[in-house]
């Protein structure tokens, strides 16, 4: 939230500025395998795979299609049980292919290993599922009838460093849980205390970025998903969030988004999740 202020300083620059689109002559780079996988308590693991691309290459629909990976062998193990995930399809998502378990179910406190084999490339990662966090209370905040948000209050544990992530799913608007506007945080500023946060709607993918409305409206039915993560899982999403917040800024973040995938990019993360249904009145 505070970071938004920084951009006000930066936005002072374009008083006289004129802009033009330019073409840059940059060399192509090698492709890497990108993992977006998660496992939650009482649910099957789910993994999306894709390939990276050169930033300035011509990206048409065929390129985007070819960046999807559907011929990999994806295996998840919790130390007791090992399962090769099954390829499935969801045409309302990019990438449309995903790998999902049918037997192995997430349990709080367990460690999960991920192994991916694609031709001669091997990737691996490990994550844990921490205990789900709980809200003390949540309520709807109002600016006016079409500008509402959700306020949450919760008490952080004092004896540990805790990492959180928040999502929202608005019935009739979202097919999946969409991360809230600011969705990744840890307890560095409030360890062991009770805090209040406001949750606003986040971007539902790239297409939503330009005409984004961060407010809820009267009549919306919302499910809030409140998750805890381990440190490596958090590091990925925290650096990802930093990148996303910086996207429209004058001084983009040059930092790389971290990864916990050996041999590739992306994330394999365990969530301890709680769900809360709210009807916006």
């Amino acid at each position: 939230m505070i970071k938004n202020f920084i951009y006000i300083i930066i936005a002072f620059i374009p008083l006289f500025a004129c802009q033009k689109e330019i073409t840059l002559d940059v060399e192509e780079v090698d492709q890497e395998v990108v993992v977006e996988g998660y496992i939650e308590q009482n649910a099957f693991p789910k993994v999306y795979l894709s390939l990276s691309s050169s930033f300035f290459s011509d990206i048409d629909s065929a390129t985007l299609f070819n960046m999807m990976v559907h011929q990999a062998k994806v295996t998840v193990s919790d130390g007791y049980k090992t399962e090769v995930l099954t390829l499935r399809k969801n045409t309302s998502h990019y990438p449309i292919y995903f790998y999902e378990g049918t037997e192995l179910i997430g349990q709080v406190g367990r460690t999960y290993h991920l192994y991916i084999k694609l031709d001669s490339i091997s990737l691996s990662a490990v994550t844990t599922i921490p205990a789900p966090p709980k809200f003390d209370s949540l309520w709807v905040g109002t600016l006016n009838d079409s500008m509402k948000y959700i306020s949450i209050k919760f008490t952080d544990k004092a004896d540990s460093r805790d990492y959180y992530r928040t999502f929202m799913k608005v019935n009739g608007q979202n097919d999946q849980y969409v991360p809230t506007y600011i969705n990744v945080f840890d307890d560095i500023y409030f360890n062991g205390t009770t805090v209040v946060f406001n949750l606003y709607k986040g971007y539902d993918g790239l297409a939503d970025m330009n005409n984004h409305n961060k407010y809820l409206s009267k009549g919306d039915t919302v499910v809030v998903r409140f998750c805890s993560m381990d440190k490596y899982h958090f590091d990925f999403w925290n650096s990802y969030q930093g990148k996303m917040l910086n996207i429209a800024s004058f001084s983009p973040s040059l930092n790389k988004v971290k990864t916990n995938i050996k041999g590739g990019l992306g994330v394999w993360g365990g969530y301890g999740a709680s769900y809360y249904k709210v009807i916006v009145k």
């Binding site: 970071k3 004129c18 802009q19 689109e21 930033f55 500023y189 790239l206 983009p252």
Partner: protein, 791 residues
């Protein structure tokens, strides 16, 4: 206002230059008093040169020069910046004392010399890498929006990287702006930028001259590691009250000066203020898409220069100087939602020049200087305040004495008490107070003593050897927190005022040598070392007002710079042309950089953990060629250079080029003077900035992540620009003089890149994606008109 002047710029040596031959028993005393013909005041710093001896000296602050010579017939050249040269032919057979007056040379020609030498001085002294500019003569040069800016003009010197539009930062031989010792009347000034760096804080009307030294910085200057920039304010007239001013597009200014007690006490007050807010409706018409940030903005800056000069006795002169300037920026959308940025500098100094005898003098200065920055933002739900600043209290004593014709010593001490408040952030969200990292109120003592000698080994060899010893103590009161693995404060160490937290001592030897190959050709070499105890960090990629200054501590050792340079200096056609070639190599140690920017570090509560410490090097060759006299004057400078950095924690430890590395950097300035008209043009070419580009993208959560290539591995297009100006000097009527300047900045409307932004658009569900690179340029072709007056 003396708009039109000829310039003969001279090196002002640290003291008199002694003769290269031994004294003999039949020496005769020659005394000279030099006065300004227009004011009748004694003229300090006038060059007195004996042609047959190939040597000479300068007048002291009372316009007095004395030397012992053998009997003979001498041609004596007496010259000073902006005055008509006088050549005296004298048969000297007995002790003699004469007085002469120099006439201002403003009707002869108009020329700006960025390389400050006179006649053959550039060849004869040990000084290297010096550029000097006299503001009176800069007024006919084409400038941005009619605003003559001393710092922008210094940027036209060799070895100073072109920083581009909207940046007054001086990047000298690969150094950062924070490594320049910028002195206004002997007192340091921390942030020389107005309007986010578009203009410097120096009001050209209040400034007499600016001098930049890149090599062989004398031992009497320290505390910064890259260069020395001395800005001298004007002194008020001791004779008559004068008013001068200027009306420009962006600012207007007024100066009043005159005697309080004739020939004893004078004053000068100069004020300048922008009226940008009044021009907002006009700018809105010009700009296609006025950002809401612009329409809701209220911005102004001002500065004030004042001086009292007191000639107490024949041997004592006192100067009380004041500089105060600030920028205020307010952006408000509606009630309870606004952001403001305020920053500024204040400098106060008292200088006492005491002349003990003909051969020795004592200069003392006491000063207070401060820089502060504040950023406040408030919204319905949250508030955010950030403050940063630094204050210095300083004292310097400098003693000059000429012991014999072979040795001239400069010695002294300097003490500075620093108080740093690097960053203090307060914020709350919905009345919940947030805790940020703080770096407040750190204190340090810096003490130095120095000694240097101008030693004439022979007629051809001149050696300047200097040694500076500096002591530094970081002291309390200070509190240090130790934290556990989860960031909780587990212990607090409290230091009192008497406790020393860190201590450093360093010698800073400096040596320079000149070998005279011929009468008008010399070879020079120098080696200098510098220690900088105050670290500088700024927001990456742009020169923002938010610079922070950090003291050296136990964890943060002082910066060190070593520089070697060699140069060949030659004058042609009876000193009408000056040329030089200089090569240098510099090494930087303990440079700092914030790994993720200053502000990001605040969110992590750990500044020192976020500071990367590294090294740097730069090397290059500088060529300059200048025509000093005649109707047609000008100069051309070219620098070929390279500057790199290496930090273990940045760019995976690999060496990278610094942002303002310019492989090629050239500028050419031409002036043509005909009757009351002056035509000027200026052309600049520089290799583009090194920037970091995204090279890879991937998709997570249906969003695009861009991954950046190696730091500064891509070059922006080159920076180039042509400016022209025409100045007409109206006929002087009843003491009223005025001149009208019309200038055009960026004549061929070159879109020089200021920065490049990237935009990714599309809808992955529909298999659509596009990446756009957009170049933002600051200044298109910009005409300006300025009217300057004086009565």
């Amino acid at each position: 206002m003396k708009l039109l002047r000829i310039i003969f710029l001279f090196f002002l040596l640290a003291g008199f230059v002694s003769f290269g031959h031994a004294q003999n028993d039949t020496a005769i005393s020659f005394e000279l008093h030099v006065y300004d013909d227009s004011t009748g005041l004694p003229m300090p710093g006038v060059s007195v040169f004996f042609e047959s001896l190939k040597n000479g000296g300068i007048t002291d602050s009372l316009g007095f020069f004395k030397i012992d010579l053998p009997k003979g017939i001498y041609s004596i050249s007496v010259s000073s910046i902006g005055y008509v040269n006088q050549l005296l032919h004298k048969k000297i057979e007995k002790d003699v004392s004469i007085s002469i007056s120099l006439k201002p040379a403003y009707v002869i020609t108009n020329m700006v010399t960025v390389y400050g030498e006179s006649q053959t001085k550039n060849v004869e002294t040990t000084q290297m890498g010096v550029s000097e500019i006299k503001m009176e003569d800069a007024k006919s040069l084409p400038v941005l929006m009619g605003e003559v800016d001393p710092i922008k003009l210094i940027q036209l010197s060799s070895g100073v990287q072109t920083s581009g539009d909207g940046n007054t930062g001086l990047y000298i031989r690969g150094g950062s702006p924070g490594q320049n010792l910028l002195l206004i009347d002997g007192a340091p000034i921390y942030n020389p930028a107005h309007l986010m760096g578009f203009f410097s804080v120096f009001n050209a009307d209040a400034i007499d001259k600016v001098k930049l030294t890149k090599s062989a910085i004398p031992a009497s200057f320290g505390g910064r590691s890259s260069s020395l920039i001395e800005v001298d304010s004007k002194s008020g007239s001791m004779q008559t009250t004068k008013v001068s001013g200027g009306i420009g597009l962006l600012t207007s200014k007024l100066c009043v000066e005159g005697p309080l007690v004739k020939n004893k006490l004078s004053y000068i007050i100069c004020a300048r203020r922008s009226y940008f807010e009044a021009l907002q409706p006009l700018v809105k018409m010009i700009i296609n898409k006025p950002a809401s940030f612009f329409t809701n903005t209220n911005y102004y800056f001002y500065d004030l220069n004042a001086q009292l000069k007191f000639i107490a006795t024949k041997k004592d002169i006192l100067k009380l100087n004041l500089y105060s300037g600030a920028d205020h920026y307010l952006y408000s959308v509606k009630e309870n939602q606004e952001a403001s940025i305020n920053w500024g500098n204040s400098v106060y100094s008292l200088k006492w020049m005491h002349f003990i005898s003909d051969n020795s003098s004592l200069n003392q200065i006491v000063y207070a200087t401060g820089y502060s920055f504040g950023f406040n933002a408030n919204d319905k739900d949250y508030s955010f305040n950030l403050a940063s600043g630094v204050k210095d209290l300083g004292y310097k004593l400098e003693f000059y004495t000429k012991k014999s014709s072979r040795h001239a010593f400069t010695s002294g001490i300097e003490y500075v008490y620093h108080t740093y408040s690097p960053v203090k952030i307060e914020g709350d969200v919905l009345d919940v107070e947030l805790q940020f990292a703080e770096l407040t109120n750190m204190r340090a003592h810096e003490l130095a003593c120095f000694l240097s000698d101008d030693f004439h080994l022979s007629k051809r060899f001149l050696l300047n050897f200097g040694m500076r010893y500096s002591w530094y103590n970081h002291t309390g009161p200070f509190s240090e927190y130790s934290k556990d693995a989860i960031g909780q404060v587990v212990d607090t160490l409290v230091y009192s005022k008497k406790d020393v937290l860190a201590s450093y001592i360093f010698p800073e030897p400096r040596i320079s040598i000149r070998y005279l190959l011929q009468e008008s050709t010399s070879l020079k070499a120098s080696f200098t070392s510098h220690v900088q105890y105050t670290h500088y960090a700024s927001l990456p990629s742009v020169s923002m007002p938010f610079d922070i200054w950090l003291p050296s501590t136990m964890k943060l050792a002082p910066e060190k710079v070593y520089q070697g340079s060699v140069g060949l200096f030659k004058n042609l056609r009876n000193n009408m042309f000056e040329s030089s070639l200089e090569v240098y190599y510099r090494m930087y140690h303990n440079l700092i950089e914030f790994k993720r920017g200053v502000l990001n570090s605040a969110f992590e509560q750990s500044y020192y953990n976020d500071i990367a410490i590294g090294t740097g090097k730069s090397y290059g060759a500088e060529i300059s060629f200048k025509k000093k006299e005649g109707k047609f004057t000008g100069w051309f400078v070219y620098t070929l250079s390279h500057s790199t950095r290496q930090f273990d924690e940045i760019n995976e430890g690999k060496e990278f080029v610094s942002t303002f590395d310019r492989i090629h950097d050239a500028s050419c300035v031409l002036n043509y003077q005909i009757k009351k008209w002056t035509f000027s043009t200026c052309f600049i070419y520089a290799t583009g900035n090194a920037i970091t580009l995204p090279e890879k993208l991937y998709i997570i959560q249906e969003n695009i992540i861009s991954e950046y290539a190696e730091k500064n591995s891509f070059r922006l297009p080159s920076y180039n620009r042509l400016d022209i100006s025409v100045t007409y000097n109206f006929k002087k009527r009843n003491h009223f003089e005025s001149a009208l300047s019309v200038s055009v900045y960026n004549v061929y409307n070159r879109a020089n890149p200021f920065y490049i932004s990237f935009e990714t658009q599309g809808d992955l569900k529909k298999y659509k994606l596009s990446n756009k690179a957009t170049q933002v340029s600051l200044f298109p072709v910009l005409p300006a008109i300025t009217w300057n007056f004086k009565f």
